[in-house]
């Protein structure tokens, strides 16, 4: 019921959702979060995501297992892209399926909040003028993750 993937290719949104929705006859609600590269009005062209192969998969699997137990999930999928993505392109897919809506919605929030600060990914921004800059971690992300402790 847990599916964790780290890949460079864009993900198959419809396929991922179809899989989750059909994982059990007892699925009553599915919740999905998708993050994508956002234009920021400062000439951002693309993001390059680096990760720690091996550790990434372990952390995401542990997070998905924790979500599964904590929110009684029937299914849980995390797909995270690495490599270079342009503005408008998807970065991450988090999907959960459960009997009732509250569990699925909460589990998705939990996963994306925890993933942001706990999974070994790093974003480097590239701008149209050639500059590049490593994204700095935000305190608000740490606070959001800590709310689930």
């Amino acid at each position: 019921m847990i599916r964790v993937v780290v890949q460079t290719a864009a993900f198959d949104l419809a396929g991922e959702m179809e899989r989750l929705s059909q994982i059990s006859e007892n699925v009553g609600g599915m919740s999905v979060f998708m993050g994508q590269v956002r234009a920021q009005g400062d000439g951002l062209e693309s993001l390059t995501l680096e990760h720690y192969p091996g550790m990434t998969e372990k952390v995401l699997t542990t997070l998905a297992e924790e979500a599964g137990t904590r929110f009684s999930l029937l299914g849980c999928t995390v797909v995270h892209r690495v490599g270079t993505m342009r503005v408008g392109e998807p970065i991450v897919f988090v999907g959960t399926a459960s009997g009732h809506r509250a569990e699925a919605l909460q589990a998705t929030s939990f996963l994306i909040d925890r993933l942001k600060t706990g999974a070994p990914f790093w974003k480097c921004e590239r701008f149209t003028d050639g500059r590049k800059r490593w994204v700095e971690a935000r305190d608000t992300d740490d606070e959001a993750a800590a709310l689930w402790d």
Binding site: Y52, V92, K116, A119, K123
Partner: protein
């Protein structure tokens, strides 16, 4: 020889100009902090990097750890800045 592998990620990797190296540790194990002090004492670039970069994290065998944790021969150590995924 009792060694550990050390990996650097993201801005650390980039500023240091390498992504991996090997270091010798005692068979009984020593703390990450002790090992790091020894490495910094003989590598000015590494010393500068740790002095200039706030909040560097450490992972031991692909799990987040602390600088007080022990390192043993064969371990995989990684240093990186705070994570920014999602």
């Amino acid at each position: 020889m009792a060694t550990v592998t050390i990996l650097y990620f993201a801005s650390l990797r980039e500023q240091l100009g390498r992504e991996q190296e090997t270091a010798t540790v005692s068979a009984e194990g020593e703390s990450v902090a002790t090992l790091l002090s020894a490495l910094r004492a003989r590598d000015a670039a590494l010393n500068d990097l740790f002095e200039q970069t706030p909040r560097i994290r450490v992972a031991i065998n692909q799990a987040l750890g602390s600088f007080q944790d022990s390192v043993r021969p064969g371990d995989e150590l990684a240093f990186f800045p705070p994570m920014t995924g999602g």
